[in-house]
């Protein structure tokens, strides 16, 4: 009776996840094959460790982002929250260590427990602050978490200066952590963070799909007014969502601090929040709220990291330069692909009117420049990068012009 239904989690999400899984396999196999060094075959364990570590770090934060997004909100503060939690953790370690132990080599077990507990507690505090700003002061989530995005990092830096001065008499922008426990965490961090990520993913899945709270999260995100009028305490559900978002970031902060043996609030995890949101969106979470799954988010994080890794392997450039571009392109493509059907149904075209005409050379220029820069790192194109740029740019120009031409014909 309703096979052609327009929405419903019944069939769409699994299809989305299957497509993602296919894309993951494709990227993985493609990279292994096209990479001239064949790193995936020659040095599999190292590649695996890098991918797993990066994916679980991104994934832990992305799970938090997904829960907030499903509940109809947004949390822009995750990157700063990571820095805040790492700083809190390191500062508590400093407080519990001997005064002359500035490298924090020996900290009693109680100190370590308090430091980790304190870092997680900082997540609860920030989540509660967000909820208060959003539900009582009625700030839009974007504004509330934008404020903490900017504010928390600065707060963490001030905290760092204050504690180092009080404790050691000299201000420092960073705190080194060499406690054996964290060194052990660093040494085994691939398996510990991957394990933590998987357990967290399972718990999140359990909450979202098998508890009353999870159902209320979807209801809140899908229709907040109706949720309230159905007797759901929407404020409390939001409280959970924002605390969960901040807690996952706090957890990632502890791992990141252990990983680098230092808490440096100035630069730690800058921009992580956007990658986490991107992973959730690529995984099928709708920024309108009410739609999204844990499986999708996990796949989304894995896919993003794989593509970033693949590009660094293929063009032998440092990944962090291209990371932003890759994430941007993937997010735009993923959302475009999911909306393609609606685009066609509404009778809209890709390049309408003069705006469309202007967009074609714009996209072609970017594509040409990108090809040129990418080719500079590939041996085969040495000395012919300009030519390649022109060829790719021209090709894109022709292709898009052809699309516009067919669109124009089908309309008239």
């Amino acid at each position: 009776m309703n096979l052609s239904g327009t929405s419903g989690s019944g069939w769409r999400l699994p299809r989305h996840e299957l497509a993602l899984l296919g894309a993951i396999v494709l990227v993985f196999v493609g990279t292994g094959w096209l990479d001239t060094n064949h790193t995936y075959f020659v040095n599999w364990s190292e590649s695996r460790d890098i991918i797993l570590r990066n994916t679980s770090l991104l994934g832990i934060i992305a799970l938090g982002a997904a829960v907030v997004i499903i509940a109809g909100g947004i949390d822009l503060s995750a990157g700063s929250m990571v820095a805040f939690s790492a700083t809190t953790c390191a500062l508590l370690l400093a407080v519990f260590s001997e005064v002359d132990d500035k490298r924090l080599v020996t900290v009693p077990p109680l100190g370590i427990a308090v430091a980790i507990g304190g870092a997680m507690l900082s997540g609860l505090l920030v989540g509660t602050l967000h909820t208060w700003l959003i539900t009582s002061i009625r700030l839009p989530p974007f504004v509330a978490t934008l404020a903490t995005l900017v504010g928390l990092r600065s707060f963490a830096r001030a905290m760092c200066l204050f504690v180092t001065k009080e404790r050691w008499g000299s201000e420092s922008q960073q705190i080194n952590v060499n406690t054996p426990f964290f060194a052990w965490l660093k040494e085994h961090n691939v398996w510990i963070s991957t394990g933590t990520f998987l357990v967290l993913a399972f718990v999140t899945w359990l909450i979202l799909s098998r508890t009353v709270l999870g159902r209320h999260l979807y209801a809140l995100g899908g229709n907040e007014q109706a949720a309230r009028l159905s007797g759901i305490r929407t404020e409390n559900v939001k409280w959970f969502a924002y605390c969960f978002g901040s807690l996952t970031a706090a957890l990632a902060g502890i791992f990141l601090m252990a990983d680098s043996s230092v808490a440096q609030p100035g630069n730690l995890a800058r921009g992580y929040e956007l990658n986490a949101i991107a992973a959730a969106v690529v995984g099928g979470c709708s920024l309108q709220g009410g739609i999204g799954t844990v499986t999708g988010t996990v796949f989304g994080a894995l896919f993003l990291r794989l593509v970033i890794d693949a590009v660094s392997k293929l063009i032998k450039a440092s990944a962090d330069v291209y990371e932003g571009m890759i994430v941007g392109i993937i997010v735009a493509l993923a959302v475009t692909l999911t909306q393609f059907g609606q685009l066609a149904k509404a009778g809209r075209t890709l390049f309408p009117g003069s705006r469309g005409l202007a967009a074609i050379p714009t996209i072609a220029t970017f594509a040409g420049l990108l090809a040129m820069m990418g080719a500079a790192n590939v041996e085969a194109f040495r000395g012919r990068t300009g030519l390649l740029g022109v060829v790719v740019g021209g090709g894109v120009l022709l292709l898009l012009s052809a699309i516009r031409w067919t669109e124009g014909r089908s309309v008239s």
Binding site: G8, S9, G10, V212, R215, A227, R233, I291
Partner: protein
């Protein structure tokens, strides 16, 4: 006189529902022509067609003798037709003058905005309209009455000679209404033809030369004002065949469960100052009380206040089983045994991303837990009984809720509340947008629930519905209770008179 606009067989269907059919009448040059009809009679649809908002319709419209086919509001403006919507269309942050010239800004020879010229012209227009506001004031700061005149000034600057006014007095104070009357008289002196939409009889009979009545999307008749009476017009507005359901078998009225005394809900930003004023009502188990009233009369606000869904700024007393209660969240009302089915199903009731089972089980989910976790099997078993009881037709519990018809969606929402076993059921216009067959099923369902001892309050914009369902009918007009009828006393005519404030104590 010659017709400036001629409607010939104009009709409009929305997804199979006929909103308007075969409307034929003329609008004469320079007259003030009132359009009257109940909520849903098709007034707004007709005006949207004339102002170019709706572009696909049946039949033909001629302006000054020539057939037209507007492709948008811009075309209608060019043809000299302007509309003042009930919800005003202003950019609140921009100054008054900028609003008047929005999209047609005057420019200096250098291509820059010529604010001085626009402000000068705006000032002249506004002064003519008895609206002495500074053209540099942001539109959002102005009072509603002044905002409305701003829209009229915009229409005049467009050289419109047909002005559609959609219930223009609904948010005005008495002095503002008097000023609007003078403005209308002035406009008519300038030769502007006015199409005045209202269901307030006093205004219609004060302003209009001729009156056209619409009912259920159909044209009833056009009469000269001097040849008719308010009573006759209200009669034509409601005079449809009443669907004859027979629920007269004895419902047994039980204990009093709900008492509302002198409920007043303030509305600070509105000139009236209140949404509800001194409303009292009683409700017994096994009884259906109907609330009649036009749009904006306060029906929804009354139910929402009882249900704890409004800001808790109300005064008065609400007694549940004789004990005063003051709910500040729907959850509290819910726990006390009150359920509410909201008016706007799509906006306030449905969860479009959840399937049928999840939509129904939402309020009673705890019963579907096994060991603290939701069990799919238990949830299906849980929703089976309300789905059966309300006779929802769907492809199964995991079908998409958005694929169901309006009537089946509404049954799902009623089923959702049956799960929490309420003692009081508040139904806010439960059959809005639902086809006739499903309506009859809903009536039977509501009647059966009532017989099982539920106390029901039902509002409706259709009077026949209240006459079919309710044991008693209360009438609200502009936030006040203006009449109470038993089923035997009530007629559509008498209810309509009380709802339009025609003969009610004010």
């Amino acid at each position: 006189m010659t017709p400036i606009i001629a409607f010939r067989g104009v009709g409009k269907r929305f997804a199979g529902v006929t909103a308007l059919s075969d409307v034929t009448f003329d609008l004469m040059t320079g007259e003030c022509h009132a359009i009257c009809g109940e909520n849903g009679a098709g007034k707004s649809t007709l005006m949207k067609i004339l102002s170019g908002v709706i572009t696909k319709y049946d039949g033909e419209i001629s302006v000054r003798g020539r057939p037209v086919a507007f492709r948008g509001t811009r075309d209608a403006e060019v043809a000299g037709i302007a509309i003042i919507h009930q919800e005003l269309n202003l950019v609140e942050q921009l100054p008054a003058a900028a609003n008047i010239f929005l999209g047609r800004e005057k420019r200096t020879p250098f291509g820059l905005l010529d604010d001085a010229a626009m402000e000068r012209e705006a000032a002249t227009l506004l002064t003519d309209l008895e609206c002495p506001v500074d053209p540099r004031t942001p539109a959002g700061v102005l009072r509603v009455g002044d905002q409305q005149l701003l829209e009229i000034a915009k229409a005049l600057s467009l050289k419109s000679d047909v002005l559609i006014m959609d219930e223009p007095t609904s948010a005005l104070t008495e002095t503002e209404v008097a000023r609007l009357d003078r403005v209308i008289a002035q406009l008519r002196q300038r030769g502007v033809t006015i199409l005045y939409i209202s269901h307030k009889m006093d205004e219609v009979f004060r302003l209009a030369d001729r009156i056209t009545v619409l009912r259920d999307g159909r044209y009833v008749k056009t009469v000269d004002r001097v040849a008719t009476t308010p009573r006759e017009i209200t009669g034509w507005m409601v005079g449809r065949e009443i669907a004859n359901h027979d629920f007269h078998g004895a419902r047994s009225r039980g204990e009093k469960v709900l008492g509302v005394r002198d409920l007043t809900l303030p509305w600070p930003e509105h000139p009236r100052g209140y949404r509800l004023k001194n409303v009292s009502l009683d409700l017994h188990a096994g009884e259906i009380v109907g609330i009649a009233g036009l749009m904006g009369a306060g029906r929804t606000e009354l139910l929402e206040t009882i249900f704890g869904a409004t800001e808790p700024t109300w005064t008065g007393t609400i007694l549940l089983d004789g004990r005063p209660v003051r709910f500040i969240h729907p959850k509290e009302a819910c726990d006390a045994g009150i359920a509410m089915v909201t008016e706007d199903r799509k906006r306030l009731g449905l969860f479009p991303d959840l399937d049928v089972a999840a939509n129904v089980s939402l309020c009673g989910l705890r019963a579907a837990l096994r060991g603290g976790l939701l069990s799919r099997g238990r949830e299906e078993a849980l929703v089976a009984s309300p789905i059966r009881e309300t006779a929802v037709k769907s492809a199964g519990p995991h079908a998409a809720i958005t694929g169901l018809s309006g009537g089946n969606q509404q049954k799902c929402i009623i089923g959702r509340w049956l799960l929490v076993k309420p003692r009081i059921l508040l139904l806010d216009d439960p059959t809005r947008g639902i086809d006739v067959g499903a309506k009859a099923e809903l009536y039977q369902l509501i009647d059966r629930l009532c017989r099982e001892g539920l106390a029901v309050v039902v509002t409706s914009s259709e009077l026949s519905e209240l006459l079919t369902l309710a044991d008693r009918i209360l009438v609200l007009a502009e936030g006040r209770l203006t009449a109470e009828f038993s089923r035997a006393e009530a007629t559509e005519q008498s209810i309509m008179e009380a709802a339009t404030g025609g003969q009610a104590p004010r």
